[in-house]
Every structure is written in structure tokens, then in C-alpha cells.
């Protein structure tokens, strides 16, 4: 059955694939009568581009693999099935004093998806990627074999599967290490800064003492204000929680998809200016719940719909330390000149903790992520211009956010890609993988 609801978060490209479900870790892969069609594991579809899509094939929905298996509350080690979401984990572990070691900017992703894209968060400089906190997992292959993979056992499968884009098999369950927290609160500090040079100064100065750092930037600012924004840094609060903290309720949603994007140059300019000036003082300290701190976008459930039926593109690049300041300036200039951009543009420094993943995205340096409404060729042209800069300094583009990078660029950015071929399950394929390995 073709199911239009199994799409990517950015709604581009729109594909047709058949969805089948796995509900129990003991189930075999649901491939009966599939006529040799390829399949791809599917988590919660929070990837922006086509790494979670398999046009013309099958996607195996793993959300039903949602049982907790074991929790060691002394050491903060959780074993759970791969379809459990980070939201479910936090709901379960935060009251017990444990938090995810690494979390991306949304809690609506599954453990399987977080491993397969080796996701990173605001603490990359301290903790590295999600995959660096995975003790072990089970990998189910289309030949019915099940491998226990860890840094010691089946290590090469472990490395190929972390950041492996779902290509090596279905992760049925995983064991992850959590980090202790005293409360659900974050001591947050927001600093308004006025240009890119200031960003790098504050970021470098903050990375030592702050577990979480990220900047929101006004992507339309130009000239000597280029890169201005709000620098947000925080640590898990030591305050033991003795009062009920206000938890924002998840009750907003965008119920319908408008026929055209609501993000245009006017709304964008307005939002960015207002947001930049939202705090009166240049530096504001506060204590906030972890939800608004880590997951501001989750407060509006299907915010991706505001971009309308044509969808949008997210662009995330990583730029190596040696060239990051100049190259970031160049990229921001190209964006603001084009007048395209998004409400939420984030800029952050990556640390140098290497991930075991063969195809892991982060590299020591700086990373920028932002959304662009899909205006067709006009948007693609701009993204190609950004690629030029990324390529010229030896940076790379994030596969989990991508729907359009060229196969040359992918193969250039991820030199290990050929090594993956030994581990890819013969029945698995994805729209992304076919695109970036196509002969050009």
C-alpha cells in the first residue's frame, strides 16, 4: 500500500513507497511477497531530506519497536528497542536523574534514527555525537542474521552502522549511556552579539565552561552586522528541583498545509529583527526547563507545514577549523545577499571528539544550519553557491538534512563511502544512497 504519510520532514522530494511495520524485536523483517523490492528502515521521519526515503521500494516503519528492555539506574545505562523516541526516554529517565548524553534539536526522533544519522547536539564540543554513547545494539539483516555489535564485538559493523544511514540492516534495540542530572532545569545565558567575529570570540571562550552552546543568527543582517545574533549557552542546573517548573505544553500545531509558503522576505525580515531585539539587555541569565532549551521548535508540532506543499530545504554544512571564519563569512554573505533564509538559523562550533561512525558528519570546526523555502531553481542556485564555498575549504554537507547535493560532492566529502559497500545489506537501498552514488 502506498502511504503518503511516510515522507521526509522537509517534504521534498515527494516519493511513493510501500510502508510495512515491525512491531516486535522478535519479528522477522516484513518482506513477504515483496518481489525482491528494496527496503529501508524508517524511524520517525525527522530527517529533512531523502535519507529516510526509498522511492519505488519499501520502508519498514520501526516505531512499533517501542519497548524499554532494561535500565541500570546506578550507572545510567538504558537498553531499549530502536523505535523508542528520545521524548519517551526523557519522560522516563529525567525523574530518575538521567539525561541523554547527546540530543538533537527535536525530541521526536527514534533511537534507531539517532544512531543511523549519528546525530549531534549543542554539546558536540564536550560529548561528541550520539553514536559515541552507544554501548551496543542488535543488527537484523535481510538474511535473517542478528549481530550484536559493539566497539569490541563485530566492531566493523558497529562503525558502519553508526552514521550508516539505515543501510546496514535494522537496528532492533540498542543500549545507550546517559549522563546524570540533578533536575530538569538548565542554567541558561543569552548574549546578544553584533557580528561574526564576536560569535567566534564568545564561542571559543564559552566552550570550556559551558556544556551546551549554540547561536541563533539573523541571517538577513549584512555588512558589519553580518552574523549578528543571540549566543545561547547553558549547563545542567545544580539546583535540586523543589518547585514545579513550568513545562510548556505541546498543544500548538499547524493543522493544515497552506498551498504556498508563509515564509517570505517580509515575514522573515520582521521575525529576524524582532527576535534579535527580543531581550532588552545584552546579556540575560535565567533558569529554563530542558524542553524550551533543547527543543524550541517542538512547541509547534508540525511547523514544517508552514512552508506549504512545495516543501523546503535545510542546508547544514561543517567547515574545518583552519578556514571556518572566512568561509562562514562568505556563506553568510551569499545568503543575506540572496535574501533567502529562515526563522531559525543556527551556528555552532564542533569539537574534536571523533565518532566511530564511518560516515559520521561532524568535523572539528564550525557548523551552520538553516532552512530555505523551495522556490525551485532560485533556491537550488543559492545552495549550489553555498556548496562551492563548503567544497573549496574541505567542509561537508550533512546527509540527514540533504535532498540535493551532487554525487561528486558527497563522494568528496565522505571519503569512506566506498568502505560502506561491504556492509550495506543487499536488500536495502534509499533514495539518498542511489542519488549520491550515481555515476555522474
Amino acid at each position: 500500500m502506498t502511504n503518503r504519510s511516510y515522507q521526509s520532514w522537509a517534504g521534498y522530494p515527494v516519493v511513493e513507497h510501500e510502508a510495512r511495520k515491525m512491531n516486535w524485536q522478535t519479528d522477522s523483517l516484513p518482506l513477504e511477497g515483496s518481489d525482491g523490492k528494496s527496503f529501508l528502515p524508517y524511524g520517525n521521519g525527522r530527517s529533512y531530506g531523502d535519507v529516510c526515503l526509498n522511492d519505488g521500494g519499501i520502508v519498514v516503519d520501526c516505531r512499533g519497536l517501542n519497548h524499554f528492555i532494561e535500565f541500570d539506574s546506578e550507572n545510567g545505562i538504558l537498553r531499549c528497542e530502536a523505535g523508542v523516541t528520545l521524548q519517551e526516554i526523557l519522560h522516563f529517565t529525567v525523574p530518575k536523574g538521567w539525561f541523554l548524553s547527546v540530543t538533537p534539536g527535536t525530541q521526536f526522533v527514534t533511537v534507531g534514527g539517532a544512531i543511523a544519522n549519528d546525530v549531534h547536539g549543542k554539546n558536540h564540543h564536550k560529548a561528541g555525537t550520539f553514536g559515541q554513547h552507544v554501548n551496543c545494539f542488535e543488527l537484523l539483516r535481510s538474511d535473517g542474521s542478528r549481530r550484536l555489535c559493539s566497539a569490541e564485538e563485530n566492531a566493523e559493523w558497529y562503525q558502519a552502522t553508526i552514521g550508516g544511514l539505515g543501510l546496514t540492516g535494522v537496528i532492533t534495540w540498542a543500549e545507550i549511556r546517559l549522563r546524570p542530572v540533578k533536575s530538569a532545569l538548565i542554567d541558561q545565558e543569552v548574549i546578544r552579539y553584533s557580528n561574526l567575529a564576536e560569535f567566534f570570540e564568545i564561542a571559543k571562550a564559552s566552550d570550556q565552561d559551558y556544556e551546551h552552546t549554540v547561536a541563533w543568527i539573523d541571517c538577513l543582517a549584512q555588512g558589519d552586522q553580518l552574523g549578528r545574533g543571540l549566543f545561547i549557552r547553558g549547563n545542567y542546573s545544580d539546583t535540586v528541583q523543589n518547585r514545579a517548573v513550568r513545562q510548556p505544553k505541546l498543544n500548538l500545531t499547524v493543522p493544515l498545509e497552506p498551498p504556498f509558503t508563509l515564509i517570505n522576505s517580509m515575514t522573515l525580515k520582521m521575525f529576524n529583527t524582532v527576535y534579535y531585539n527580543k531581550q532588552r539587555k545584552d546579556q540575560v541569565k535565567s533558569q529554563v526547563h530542558y524542553k524550551p532549551f533543547f527543543y524550541p521548535l517542538d512547541a509547534i508540532y508540525q511547523w514544517n507545514r508552514i512552508y506549504g506543499s512545495k516543501g523546503f530545504f535545510q542546508y547544514q554544512c561543517a567547515l574545518p577549523v583552519e578556514h571556518m571564519e572566512d568561509a562562514m563569512g562568505e556563506i553568510l554573505q551569499r545568503i543575506s545577499k540572496a535574501g533567502l533564509g529562515s526563522f531559525l538559523t543556527v551556528l555552532k562550533l564542533f569539537g574534536d571528539k571523533p565518532s566511530p561512525g564511518l560516515l559520521s558528519f561532524p568535523m572539528p570546526g564550525a557548523t551552520l544550519a538553516l532552512d530555505f523555502p523551495n522556490y525551485g531553481q532560485k533556491t537550488l542556485d543559492l545552495l549550489n553557491q553555498l556548496d562551492e564555498v563548503t567544497r573549496s575549504v574541505g567542509g561537508r554537507v550533512n546527509p540527514s538534512k540533504d535532498a540535493r547535493m551532487s554525487s561528486e560532492d558527497f563522494q568528496h566529502h565522505f571519503a569512506n563511502w566506498r568502505k560502506m559497500e561491504d556492509y550495506i545489506d543487499p536488500r536495502i537501498s534509499s533514495s539518498f544512497w542511489r542519488r549520491v552514488t550515481a555515476e555522474s
Binding site: M1, N3, S5, Q25, T26, G64, H67, F68
Partner: protein
Amino acid sequence: MRKTLIIGATSAIAQDLAKLFAEAGDAICLVARSDNKLKILADDLQLRGASSVAMQSMDVLEYERHQSVIDSAVEALGGLDLVVIAHGTLPDQVACQDSPDLTKKEFEVNALTTISLLTNLANYFEAQQRGSIVVISSVAGDRGRQSNYVYGAAKGAVTIFLQGLRNRLTKSGVNVLTVKPGFVDTPMTADFPKGALWASSEKVAQDINKAIDRQKSIAYVPWFWRYIMLIIKSIPEMVFKKLSL
């Protein structure tokens, strides 16, 4: 601490309901036919906060075991406050039309097994003079339709049986809740294309949980099905019989 028995515990809707019960700290006894699944579910519920989790495997067609399974549950839980019956199958209507045997079998799983279990449970609760019986019936039991009337007739039988039971047990202080889900995205409906009217099993479980807490008699889940069925039930048979529903 509430003592809760769930029959058909591995159903998607029942599992999500059980998670809510576990978070509330219930002592839970699970009944389902697969040992593997029972074990996975029991570990999960224990972690989520259940005070205790017991399990028994049973195919609901084993009528002769109904009483003893209920007795063992009461023993394991040290009493019984709440029972949820959730097992069911979605028959292939067209195949049933060619097979009286299949029709009978589907009617059995969806109606007679539930009625048998309820017969035993009702006496327990009536004697105890309190407690809560929750059965997942269906909106399909509200009116027969050509696409689904074997299932609809079985669910309709359960609905009417529960209506009578409620009428009997109210004076004993026992609450009887008939749950009527609309379209729910679960393994039972895996092959259906999903549209706007479909709900997730999590959402449906939350609604059922609220209805249990509020001691309701009938719960359409999600709520709007009450109005959809009101309209469907109000169409005169003269007109209805010509519709392709």
C-alpha cells in the same frame, strides 16, 4: 494501588493503555497468546513503573481455561479492580461470504470469547460490589455495513451484551465501559490506506484512560466518532441499503 487484568494485552491499543497504567503504578496481570511478546511487554511495563507484572498465556478460544486464568490473575494481583478486554481480529469480509465456517470462527473470536470471559468476570465483580470492566468494542458494531458486517455483528453483540451487563451491575457499584474506537492505526489495520480520520493507538489509549478515570459508560474514541456514528445511525434503512458503505 489498582489491580488490573488485561486480556489481549499484546494488542497495540492495549499495550499503550498498559503503559499508562504502569506509569500510574498499577499491579498488572497480562493475558495474551504469545510468550515472547508477553515477556517483552512485561519488562517494559515493569520499568515504566508498574508495581508488579504477572503474565499468563492463553488463546481466548480455550474457553475451558477462562475461569482458571481469571482465578490465577486474582491470586497473582491479590484482588481485582479493573479488567480490560482488548483481543480481536479483523475478518476478511469477502472470504467470510464464501465460508460459513470462517464466519462462525470470526464471530467466535470477536464475540463469544469476550462474552464467555465477561460471564465469569461479571460474577466476580458483582460479588465484590465494586470494580471496573472495560471492553474494546467498535463503531462497526453500531450499524451493519456490507464491507464489514461479520465483524460489525460480533462487535454489535458485544455492545448489547455490555449494555445489559451495565444495567445489571450498576446497582452493585461496578462500572461497565464500552469503548468504541473508530479507525486506529494498528497491526489489525496495517493494510488500509490511512487518511485524516485515523488516530494513533497512543491517542486512543489516552482517551480510553480518561474515560476509565471518569467512570464513563460509553466512550467513542476519538470523540468525533460519536457524531459520525450519530449521522450514520440516523440514515433511514430505505436509503442506507442502497449506499455502498
